[in-house]
Symmetry: C2
Subunit: 234 residues, 2 copies
């Protein structure tokens, strides 16, 4: 029996049309899949209905990777693919497998020799980098910043050093902490350091700006509770 495939499928990031951020052929392929391994079932169902009003939700199988899922259950989730079915992996937003539990599924797929096929979709990391003007030959995504202020400032300073060595630094934080992060950046980085703030990527309110710390200090910037990707570069 031929093995199925595991498709790493993108989702919209919230406010956009699917046709704005997901290729047509990817949308068509999603519509034909009936097995889903997802970060959030509710979000996935809503997305499926948004791209196809008649999507047969009730005839589809959804496996949710949440905190209650035990590691051995992940092996059950990939069983449909082992048996020849096509299975889609969805993150809660954007591309799966980058900063979500989807990568655990991919690990198992590789162990079992199931083909993993990634598909194009929106990624704030990549879109932010493209529009920053920073070095894309060498860059690091650092994920979320440490919660403790002391650790956070130490991390920001260490990233600044790497940026001066030609390695663009990308990071984020939970939206309600953005203003604290901004304060820490302005107070602790050098005046000449270049900072890119990419806010509300792919939405109507998208704003991507690169300025020196000195110039950011001159303007008032409200980032409270909005999705932001921060980049330090040179």
């Amino acid at each position: 029996m031929a093995k199925g495939k595991i498709y790493m499928m993108p989702m919209t990031m919230g406010a956009e049309n699917a046709e704005q951020v997901i290729p047509t052929e990817v949308l068509e392929r999603i519509k034909n899949i009936r097995f889903f391994i997802v970060e959030n079932v509710k979000t996935t169902r809503r997305f499926l209905r948004s791209i196809d009003k008649t999507f047969p939700i009730d005839d589809s199988t959804f496996f949710e990777i949440n905190k209650r899922v035990q590691p051995e259950q992940l092996y059950e989730f990939v069983q449909p693919a082992v048996k020849g079915e096509e299975v889609a992996v969805f993150s809660e937003t954007g591309c799966p497998g980058i900063a979500d539990p989807g990568s655990e599924i991919v690990k198992i797929a590789h162990q079992k020799g199931i083909q993993v096929v990634p598909h194009v979709g929106p990624s704030s990391i990549l879109l932010g980098l493209m529009a920053s003007g920073f070095n894309g030959q060498h860059f690091t995504f650092n994920g979320y910043l440490p919660k403790e202020r002391k650790d956070r400032i130490q991390k920001l300073k260490s990233m600044e050093r790497n940026a001066y060595n030609g390695e663009t630094q990308i990071f984020m934080d939970t939206p309600y902490r953005n203003m604290n992060v901004m304060e820490d950046l302005l107070q602790n980085l050098k005046e000449s350091t270049q900072l890119c703030i990419a806010a509300n990527i792919t939405t109507d309110k998208e704003s991507i700006k690169t300025k020196s710390i000195a110039d950011w200090k001159k303007s008032k910037t409200n980032l409270d509770k909005i999705p932001v990707m921060f980049l330090i570069g040179c």
Copy 2:
């Protein structure tokens, strides 16, 4: 007079249909642009004709960022945007501004207060990472490896150390050196280190596999002269 915008536009990576890797709304927007700042004029013209047979190439303006271009000329290239026109930036393949001279244009755009808008398209870095099963919360793209063997081996070992610290390492080399890189990886990394080889991404021949160095040693892998993204992770 209102300023124009600079759109960071994706291109196909070679073998695929545009509808497979570029969203419809992005393709529609590209068709309406008449000013282009590109890495390669010939490739861009071919791409424009492939998505629209009647694209008015002769009524469009192309600026090529090649080795003969002087830094001050880049300021001329963005003039149409300063004057209110919409301008597209294209790399030779995939997404612009990541590993091409497009980022220099973006720098100037930010200096002049011109809005930079990134669009979704194919990126071997991101697609490879999504399908690797490796940690996407922390990853580094290292660009091309050093040419000298001694330096290359040192770099590979340093990346392996970072991978064991939880930071996924992504890198590439010129396709005709892939087999040398593979040899260096098998000879110098630990048996238990996980290596993902993502070859021919987005084409019919796409193959993405993650295995330990010990397992890679057991199989014969021909990567000669094909596009490959290498990832080391855990």
